[in-house]
């Protein structure tokens, strides 16, 4: 067991033949991900990486039975691609692209929700179930199979956290990079619920950052619903207010969205909160022993 994706998940790639799409689709195939084809309008009928290329997502779904799409199209076309996936019956779209306009993502997310499609991202490393399926851009080799679920707004902190967990002798069930944009798909609450229900997952690492209040909502949810131990780190304790720290959503507005308020809320919910990401591995070891 795991959450969201596994060795049988059939994946198509939107933006399959582009530079980024090609490079990362190749890496995912090498990891063992069941990529069954891709979509590039105008290139339907061709073969790329030994897989069929389709003009539309609808054709790709019909021909391959894919349920998940990995989206690599340029930022201006992300909303269109996500809506197309939703209309074609895709169950989960993993949006890697960085720099999609917020107004576009607002519309795309609303459309996905209406069509019952889950989304991850945008501007995220993707999702990986260790040793089974990698949909995204993370370095697969650091994720050893195990019983820790990981949810993170940051790509490299996902790698840092997973690496420490594995160095402590534990491993990862599924890791999900949810992205740091103002509007994102699956968030802490839904994923916490999935990890709570996943028999393979015994502990959860949650990595957040300044800006917005998703971590505060998660704290409330954890207190009421999560029985498994949770370790959390919130990046940006030393970030100045009013400055956008790399991610579009990572900004302290006035006095709202600080790391401190999030850390306090999570601590109050019984979460093992670490002050430095260097302590994530040890904290996991502590809650599991």
């Amino acid at each position: 067991m795991s959450i969201l994706v596994n060795k049988d998940t059939k994946v198509i790639v939107q933006g399959f033949t582009g530079g980024e799409g090609t490079f990362h689709a190749e890496q995912c195939l090498a990891y063992g991900t069941k990529i069954v084809g891709g979509v590039t309008p105008g290139k339907g009928g061709q073969t790329h990486l030994d897989k069929p290329v389709f003009n539309t997502v609808r054709e790709a779904v019909k021909a391959t039975g894919a349920t998940v799409s990995m989206v690599f199209v340029p930022p201006a076309f992300v909303a269109d691609a996500v809506m197309e996936a939703a209309a074609a019956g895709i169950e989960l779209a993993v949006i890697i692209t960085e720099g999609a306009p917020v107004r576009d993502m607002q519309a795309a997310k609303a459309c996905a929700v209406k069509n019952g499609m889950m989304t991850i991202g945008p501007n995220c490393p993707g999702v990986i179930t260790a040793d089974e399926c990698k949909i995204g851009i993370m370095p697969g080799m650091i994720f050893k199979k195990g019983n820790v679920g990981l949810i993170s707004k940051s790509g490299t902190l996902t790698y840092e956290g997973a690496n420490q967990v594995c160095n402590e002798g534990y491993g990862i069930s599924t890791a999900v990079g949810i992205g740091g944009d103002p509007i994102i798909g699956l968030s802490y609450i839904q994923l916490l619920q999935m990890f709570e229900e996943d028999p393979e997952t015994e502990a959860i690492v949650m990595i957040g950052e300044i800006g917005g209040d998703l971590e505060i909502q998660a704290a409330t949810y954890i207190k009421a619903n999560i029985t498994k131990p949770v370790v959390a780190f919130i990046a940006g304790q030393t970030a100045p207010p009013g400055k956008r720290m790399g991610h579009a959503g990572a900004i302290i507005s006035g006095s709202a969205g600080t790391a401190k308020e999030k850390m306090d809320a999570l601590s109050a919910a019984g979460v093992e909160v670490v002050v430095s990401p260097a302590e994530i591995g040890k904290a996991v070891s502590k809650v599991l022993s």
Partner: protein
């Protein structure tokens, strides 16, 4: 991207949102000429910088004669204005906006922002105009009205009714005018990919008209590609030159006031690295995300920008290679030491893709001042010790 008040008011005017008449000036002579052109016998001289709180800092003055317009314009142009939003270093004023006086009966607050929880824009309004909205939210949250507008259906009649009845406006004519005002502002927000529009204060005149006395507008950087006319409003002098230079190389840089320069891949890990330095008793000198496509040139540029800051006593390079390959970063570090005089200790921690190759490259290069950190905690501890001269 933020714009000046006078530019915000040009946007308002384009959408039929009423503003006082005004003309921008670069010199005291122009300021006086503008006052003459506007007519009347009272004018407001307003410093144009990208920060709020200008009035309290002495950047907004009421002139009752053209002599006073000259006096205030001379005083404000070239001054370094310090407000609660500029930081202690303040901002240099290059332009003043000369505006006709307004007849104020009531001061309101109105804004359109994205509500991240609702995932749609909200119109926020309050009767407490002229006050800092954060203070209002803290002390009297019941005085703030929030109305979410779903972009799929747009601004409807009920949004307007919730607004005017919520603000206690009972005159039919006034209701109609304010609803019209708010709906136009919402259109401006949506059609231009604005991130935030704030009018504080929005005034009601004695004759029952609503006018945007101030205006603050920010736009979504990711959407500027489809709005060249907005990009044209960019004022480079408002941006930090180092941050701007960094962005041209795909680096995301923000200066801080500590002693340890940081070079990291990924925004989250970059913040986490700053936090770790702080936790270990040091102070970060900057945020720097080298991004996903770092190479020798960008790393060298990163060193150059970090070392411009005279407070930097050590540099911590913390890379977890995913897409970024560590061997490339190692070559970048070697390249940088050739291109730039790296006169402080450099602590390097490289992990992930091609980390063993990178370690080999650095070892063979035999660079003076270079210290290897085995992991995040070890690297940060060494950087803190090096900055204190204890290594």
């Amino acid at each position: 991207m933020n714009i000046h008040e006078y530019q915000a008011k040009q946007c308002f005017a384009k959408y039929g949102v009423p503003t006082p008449r005004g003309i921008i000036a670069n010199t005291p002579d122009q300021a006086v000429a503008n006052a003459g052109q506007l007519g009347g016998n009272i004018w407001v001289v307003k410093a144009q910088i990208h920060a709020g709180g200008r009035g309290l800092g002495g950047g907004v003055k009421l002139a009752k004669s053209k002599e006073e317009v000259r006096e205030f314009a001379t005083e404000i142009l070239g001054m370094t204005l310090v407000t609660h939003q500029t930081g202690p270093e303040g901002k240099l004023v290059h332009k003043v906006y000369i505006e006709e006086g307004a007849d104020i009966k009531d001061e309101l607050y109105l804004s359109v922002v994205l509500d991240r929880a609702a995932e749609m824009p909200i119109i926020m309004a309050s009767t407490e105009g002229g006050m800092d909205i954060e203070t209002v939210a803290e002390n009297t949250p019941e005085k703030i009205i929030k109305i979410a507008v779903d972009p799929a259906y747009g601004f409807q009649g009920y949004h307007g009714r919730e607004l005017v009845f919520g603000l206690g406006i009972s005159d039919k004519n006034e209701q109609r005018k304010l609803i019209d005002f708010a709906s136009k502002l919402y259109n401006l927000y949506m059609e231009n990919d604005a991130e935030m529009i704030e009018i504080n204060p929005l005034i009601k005149t004695t004759s029952g008209d609503f006018i945007a006395l101030d205006g603050k507008v920010g736009f979504d950087d990711s959407a500027l590609g489809r709005h060249p006319e907005i990009e044209d409003m960019r004022d480079i002098s408002e941006e930090d030159p180092d941050e701007r230079e960094a962005s041209q190389y795909g680096l995301s840089y923000i200066a801080l006031d500590g002693e340890i320069g940081c070079m990291v891949n990924g925004a989250g890990l970059a913040m986490g690295t700053m936090d770790t330095i702080n936790y270990m008793g040091g102070t970060p000198a900057n945020f720097l995300d080298v991004g996903g496509s770092a190479n020798a040139e960008t790393v060298a540029k990163g060193f150059e920008i970090i070392l411009k800051n005279p407070n930097v006593k050590a540099i911590f390079v913390n890379i977890f290679g995913g897409i970024v390959r560590c061997d490339r970063i190692a070559n970048g570090i070697i390249e940088a030491t050739k291109l730039t005089d790296v006169h402080v200790p450099v602590i390097v921690r490289l992990d992930g893709t091609n980390a063993p190759e990178a370690a080999e490259i650095l070892k063979n290069a035999k660079i003076e001042n270079l210290i290897v950190g085995t992991d995040l905690g070890d690297g940060a501890a060494k950087a803190v010790a090096a900055a204190k001269g204890e290594l």
